[in-house]
Symmetry: C2
Subunit: 227 residues, 2 copies
Amino acid sequence: IITVNDLRKTYTMGLNQVHALKSVSVAVEKNEYVALMGPSGSGKSTLMNLLGCLDTPTAGEYILNGINVSTMEDSELAEVRNKEIGFVFQTFNLLPRLSALENVALPLVYNGTSKSKRLARAQEVLEMVGLGDRTDHKPNELSGGQRQRVAIARALVNDPAIILADEPTGNLDTKTSIEIMGIFEEIHKAGNTVILVTHEPDIAEHAHRVIRLRDGLVESDERNENV
Amino acid sequence: IITVNDLRKTYTMGLNQVHALKSVSVAVEKNEYVALMGPSGSGKSTLMNLLGCLDTPTAGEYILNGINVSTMEDSELAEVRNKEIGFVFQTFNLLPRLSALENVALPLVYNGTSKSKRLARAQEVLEMVGLGDRTDHKPNELSGGQRQRVAIARALVNDPAIILADEPTGNLDTKTSIEIMGIFEEIHKAGNTVILVTHEPDIAEHAHRVIRLRDGLVESDERNENV
Ligand SMILES: Nc1ncnc2c1ncn2[C@@H]1O[C@H](COP(=O)(O)OP(=O)(O)OP(=O)(O)O)[C@@H](O)[C@H]1O
Ligand SMILES: Nc1ncnc2c1ncn2[C@@H]1O[C@H](COP(=O)(O)OP(=O)(O)OP(=O)(O)O)[C@@H](O)[C@H]1O
Ligand SMILES: [Mg+2]
Ligand SMILES: [Mg+2]
């Protein structure tokens, strides 16, 4: 479902170049469950942003569902981002003036769902992540872990085929993490593809495959024997 | 060094009241090393913000270094916040238009340190957290774990007597977490007081005492037997 070949991302800062991804080649099948790990600064979020069509590579190709992403029109890309992919950002990226409910309903606004259906669906997903009593709070009226769960709920609201979650449990206590991992398990069992960045081995244990990055390169790519 | 008696914090939202802290009474001695734990939404950041003089309680008293904080003048409070307390925010709170170096040097601007001394000290602390080669990057040109480390460096730059760190390793891989915990160990050995919020038991292991919150109340407060 996802193939990247010799993917590169370089940032230019004045006279310096930062090679965030030097060359990444990876193939992910439909319905795989992949954990992406590696040191701070090794390129995980950069790779996730490219996979989520939120950014374009400096070089290399990205083939999603058989289509070369660089050949897609902007409108086509927007539709893929909205319907096919659910993205949980490492820094949440919630809109500060909207309530939790409105933030979660936003992807449904873009695909033309009726207002009552949007709010009902957003309510449902917020209850799933344990925030049924916080729907009217704005992001600055929520705890760190609650904001993280709103970001997760927003990624799930459109029932996407591919979940890209960048450190989804970084701000969660053990019990809440287990509940969130349970949700990802169900999404995976339903036939969807899950790629999550984590630095916690306990979280990576849930995945079938672990890809490790180091300095913008794939250091290892292994089946998880225990699953 | 820190005493709170029947501390309360209530947020009012329209007709609703959210009791973030219902009643917290705790005493922390000089040179203690405390881990603050508890479920997402239990009041940890709220308590940290009160201890860091970043917010005022709805009721109860906070005595810092023998002085009742509610009796302090604004200028006195600002001086305490700048010189006595180093605060690592759960959501980093870096200034987006300043480089990492400028962000870290900011507390030194407020206490009148000369420019060359500020930049030298900021450079020193950034090297300590492994970011010597990222000093000119702005926050949006840094990875999540790098931003977290800039926030940590900024909290340390003034050599404060009290470190309040709200989930300082949430975005860090294991190796980098160990390096950061090593820094906190040294700060503690130097005679300072460290209070850190974490949801990771491995991180809490470094502390001498673990205070657990649940629903805005202290659920348990115990010595760490293994240390
Ligand atoms: N400004 C606010 N208005 C209303 N409610 C708030 C506000 N800030 C926080 N809260 C609520 O107060 C409670 C405690 O929040 P707090 O940020 O202290 O939790 P926490 O223990 O730090 O959680 P986490 O582990 O998720 O960071 C939460 O339930 C939150 O929804
Ligand atoms: N806009 C940018 N300009 C310059 N350098 C950047 C930019 N964005 C990221 N970088 C650099 O690219 C490298 C990879 O960043 P990335 O965010 O992908 O790391 P990461 O693996 O997600 O790290 P973490 O675990 O800390 O979140 C980092 O060293 C970072 O400093
Ligand atoms: Mg990242
Ligand atoms: Mg918090």
